[in-house]
């Protein structure tokens, strides 16, 4: 049990980093991590060790986020208009260089599945096989999400650096 708790605890900083990058909302991100830890504890016996503990924890977090996004979409469908519109968080001007701001904004405009793939690989350093397992899709799908997502990021950033930013603030 002590091993279990220590193992989970050692992954929390990474889980928080992924959740923060995914949501851009510190409170929501920590809520997701908190739920993830609770679930990992209650389902510990279902972890068969086929995946690394890290991949297993990321799977739980990934699914929690995907479910939350679905629930919000469903609430929007019922209400007929966004209850909580997906906000594009505009980073403060002092937060890094112009190109980092552009990257941050462009990332938020990617479809969720592409953003998740890019973050799991580029930020978290998971292998493609681990990303396939975490997101529950075949390797080929991971590769095509990665490929389309990166190309889209590139295009969005090129647009962004042409003219200050209004383009990036346009929500589809």
């Amino acid at each position: 049990m002590a091993d279990r708790d220590a193992l989970i605890e050692s992954e929390i900083p990474r889980l928080r980093r992924f959740a923060r990058a995914l949501t851009r909302d510190p409170d929501w991100a920590d809520d997701l991590v908190q739920d993830c830890v609770e679930r990992a504890l209650s389902r510990w016996s279902t972890w068969r060790g086929g995946d690394s503990a890290r991949a297993w924890l990321f799977t739980i977090l990934h699914n929690l986020h995907a479910n939350a996004v679905r629930r919000r979409a469903r609430a929007r469908a019922i209400f007929g208009h966004p209850v909580r519109p997906p906000e594009i968080v505009t980073p403060p001007p002092q937060a890094g260089s112009l190109s980092l701001r552009d990257l941050d904004l462009a990332l938020q405009r990617l479809p969720d599945d592409q953003r998740r793939a890019i973050l799991l690989v580029g930020l978290e350093g998971l292998t493609y096989a681990e990303v396939a397992s975490v997101t529950g899709v075949p390797m080929g799908t991971v590769m095509s999400r990665l490929s389309r997502g990166r190309e889209r990021l590139r295009r969005l950033m090129a647009e962004g650096s042409n003219d200050g930013g209004p383009v990036l603030r346009r929500v589809k």
């Binding site: 279990r4 708790d5 989970i8 605890e9 929390i12 900083p13 990474r14 928080r16 980093r17 923060r20 990058a21 920590d30 809520d31 991590v33 908190q34 830890v37 609770e38 504890l41 209650s42 939350a68 629930r71 919000r72 469903r74 609430a75 019922i78 209400f79 209850v83 909580r84 890094g96 190109s99 980092l100 990257l103 941050d104 990332l107 890019i118 973050l119 690989v121 580029g122 930020l123 350093g125 292998t127 493609y128 590769m143 990665l146 490929s147 990166r150 990021l153 590139r154």
Partner: protein, 257 residues
């Protein structure tokens, strides 16, 4: 010299992400020397990875809040177990109230892992049937009494309020305190010009899944219910789904604002 295998898109990404073996990596490097356009694209992808680490890497270095640790999660689970025990004792009482309405059977047959939310409708519907029929004692404290919200907020341990629904033709009559599982709940009652009544039921629902929005109905009584923050809410009334939805939407937006 490595055997010439066609360079795929997947190879290029694996090159960017350092997921190639050394031989293959050398082959890609050679290939990129002859293809400056692709080389530029690959350099961009690399910069994206570096940018992501620059943007978010710091989060992993900040101290982890205690609430996120396994120890804190285990403590919360112990607390919840105690609350559930208290709740199940109270459920016996509810069974007696709910069984008469037929509502409980409806919820028992519903398959799904949300027993707390399901029993939210039991409680809200039972309370609605009990008090919406009252002529003289529909509420415990009238809306005019200024301590109504303060009193219920104190008892529920958090800010509790009832949105004004006058725009929809419903006037707030007042509210009452009710027992709910292990703790208190609040019921607010509204009435329109035709004396049609609507009740908003609010109870503490810690540890439930985040915001859900569901509809249930039985014998002409409908309820929209959801969990938001620490509270579970149910809006109950004998009216068509569409009318109730308009009111529920109003309440939801007001309370989440």
């Amino acid at each position: 010299m490595t055997e010439m295998i066609p360079v795929t898109e997947a190879d290029l990404h694996a090159y960017v992400d350092g997921q190639l073996d050394p031989d293959r990596r050398a082959a890609i490097e050679a290939h990129l020397k002859d293809d400056p356009e692709t080389a530029e694209r690959i350099a961009d992808y690399r910069r994206q990875n570096e940018g992501l680490r620059a943007l978010f890497g710091g989060v992993a270095d900040t101290p982890v809040p205690t609430a996120l640790t396994p120890a804190a999660a285990l403590a919360r689970r112990r607390d919840r177990r105690r609350a559930t025990l208290a709740r199940s004792a109270a459920a016996v009482v509810l069974l007696a109230i709910g069984a008469g309405s037929g509502w409980l059977l409806n919820d028992m047959l519903r398959i799904g892992p949300a027993p707390l939310v399901a029993s939210l409708t039991d409680e809200a519907a039972a309370a609605h049937r009990m008090y919406a029929a009252e002529r003289r004692h529909a509420v415990e404290v009238a809306a005019e009494e200024e301590h109504l919200f303060r009193w219920l907020s104190n008892r529920l341990g958090d800010d509790v309020r009832a949105p004004a629904l006058d725009a929809m033709g419903f006037r707030l009559m007042g509210g009452r305190l009710l027992p709910s599982g292990g703790g208190p709940a609040a019921q607010f009652m509204y009435q329109d010009a035709a004396e049609q009544r609507l009740t908003l039921y609010i109870r503490l629902d810690p540890g439930s899944e985040e915001t859900q929005f569901e509809y249930a109905s039985e014998d002409g009584t409908g309820a929209f219910y959801w969990v938001e923050g620490r509270f579970g809410y149910a809006l109950v009334g004998e009216m068509p789904r569409e009318s109730l939805l308009r009111a529920a939407r109003f309440v939801y937006l007001d309370l989440s604002g």
